[in-house]
Symmetry: C2
Subunit: 444 residues, 2 copies
Amino acid sequence: VTTSELASLVCSTNLSSIPQPAIEEAKNSLLNYMGVAIGASRHAMIDMLLDVTHEWGRNQEAQVLGRPERVDIYTASMANGMSAHIFDYDDTLLDTVLHPSAPVFPALMAYAEKHEVSGRDMLAAFVLGVEVSQRIGQVVYPSSYDKGWHMTGHVGQFGAAVSVGCLMGLSTEQMQHALGIAATQPVGLREMFGTYTKPFHPGRASANGLLAALLAQKGFTSSTQSLEALRGFLRVTSEATDFSRLTSEWGANWEIMKNSYKPFPCGIVIHPAIDAAVNLHKKGVSADNVERIEIEVNPLVLELTGKKTPRDGLEAKFSVFHCVAAGLLDGWVGLVQFEDSRVTAEDVVEMRSRVHATIDTGIAEDQVRVKAYEKCGKVHELFIEHAIGSIENPMTKEQLVQKFVGATQGILDRAHQENLIEETWNLDKAASLKNLVSICAASE
Amino acid sequence: VTTSELASLVCSTNLSSIPQPAIEEAKNSLLNYMGVAIGASRHAMIDMLLDVTHEWGRNQEAQVLGRPERVDIYTASMANGMSAHIFDYDDTLLDTVLHPSAPVFPALMAYAEKHEVSGRDMLAAFVLGVEVSQRIGQVVYPSSYDKGWHMTGHVGQFGAAVSVGCLMGLSTEQMQHALGIAATQPVGLREMFGTYTKPFHPGRASANGLLAALLAQKGFTSSTQSLEALRGFLRVTSEATDFSRLTSEWGANWEIMKNSYKPFPCGIVIHPAIDAAVNLHKKGVSADNVERIEIEVNPLVLELTGKKTPRDGLEAKFSVFHCVAAGLLDGWVGLVQFEDSRVTAEDVVEMRSRVHATIDTGIAEDQVRVKAYEKCGKVHELFIEHAIGSIENPMTKEQLVQKFVGATQGILDRAHQENLIEETWNLDKAASLKNLVSICAASE
């Protein structure tokens, strides 16, 4: 009776009982989600999706983040879920590789926007939605992932269904049906990585979860033991046999508290080096005074990202040399630093030539040692023990703001960026999402 | 390079080259599809789906079969795919248990209606769509079915994607992308059998396939080896290792030629007895003159359907006594004969009491032996060697018409039934689906 126990726990958890630290983390997740979604919102694949759905003649009750369009809540779920994952820059629950926000927030926010839900209820429902998708993820991981399922599409729809279902006030039985309708629609093969279809997964998962909740609310039926049954979700898509995590220690901790945010939009292996470069920038090391930068890195870094002279943004993601140069010059490495024009800019190319790397097996994957030699003879030495964004060194609210500003540059103007940050930090006191959402539209 | 070979075969097959016998079988499939979909179109689950989608404010470019509503092509695909499978009365490719029409026709017809495709091209695209989903089904069956996938949702989306993609004239590469977007959205756990979520599967598969084709047409990318890759569809969802059937003997035969149609909306095990009862009715055996009916059946019949006094339509599906009585009285057993009011009607109850059954291990599952004793002393003896609807004794066009009329009774009036049958038989000569579709709307 596992699905029924889980549904019962969810339905008996009052939204107002979600503790404030979890709500705060939900706000961090929200700012990060909106930043990466807005940042990618002009990608060609969003144009394609909206071209298709435009012909279906949808109404205009939910905002497409970072764009002028308003669409129906189902289409908004798909579009926003996609853009949140386009740059692989969204949040991660590291023990399952689940990106929790991209499948949950789009459906939840679209529903909350339409039904004028309070900010705090929306955030609390997010905490519950993430809790459920992550717990299901913990049961099936790593076996379903190893088999070839993309975790975020594979279990994300449960989070969308549950979070929307909570706002609807579904009964336990309806919630079981919603979980069942979600269970029958797992999305996402890892084979799709590297194509538009990868970000399609959380978009599709979000819309699938939304539809599951909407149908369940109308009385649509499904299996009431969709997770644990012999031919249910867990056994069909994974080799898992221990399902206890679905319900164990419910409410003792909230999984959202372990959420992590990627500071930089590239492989995690370069993050320590970028962290060091950003620190050097803060110390005043600049193009004018630096002569040579030496980095000692874990062997994996040069194996994966040893490209000396990247020619465009995509290649630059595989060049620790570019990342260190750009981080030092610009004080951050965001989406802008991976634009083709920045990768080939004279100052970046010049600085890149001064970066020299050696490997050291004694350096851990989240570490780096850097020496910056100034022309005057001064040497800055820096050892990053845990790069920012790692569990041991999570991003601060200030860093999340910095990431948000970088990600939304060119789409939101400065005033809108500031307003949106402010609205997010105060969302748990807002009567609705109205203000927040109105600023998410394109303003530049 | 299997996906690419398959896409290449599909794209190099000219719609006009599909031979006439396959087109004829496609018309049989179409009549059967429309009958069962129209027959179930007023079910509560279709109301629920349309209630949900109505709020999204769709336009009115495609017909919901059997109802007054017109909706966008995506919603039409979901609704019609669901209604086609609600009564488990649709067609079957017996070697994979794939119900080929329910996921393919809804997307294909909605697209064809909107884009004014000719009747013959639509039918030819159906043949190709079924070909592809069935071939993929042949590769994964029985391993994915045994694991717990519902074949019709599991592989049906490929047929929808390919058939619509053919009408669009997708390039081979676009077709690979469409197959990839379809591959990443398998639908349907067998655990859902017995709930509304079962017919949801072909509806969802149809819409998923349609979306895949629409996105691919816009330039959306996916894996180009979505079927055979290490983490692709075939290996993730089945234990299959031999993929040769995907492309072997392409064009030598068309799988649609093996399509089978269920004459009666109940478990196949009672079909021989109903067949016999219908034959007795034709011979003039009636309530007025019959005294006693003895049937000798395969043991499975009484094990599964031995209910002596069914109280409602659902129980009547498990009563060979009811089925024989109703078949003898009404000359057919369709949806009407499983309505509660017919099950409890005096003449049926009375006739049921005259039916007596014995088991005989020498009678095969598709056989029955019947003796009808008339009051005058005359005895009619009948042996059904292969029940209608079996591979050896397929339904004739006349019987398909009879099924269609029974299924659509109370939703289409007699004139509309006749027109729709006529339009179907002549569809390969029609310039568009316009006439056909206009008659599919509710007329009673």
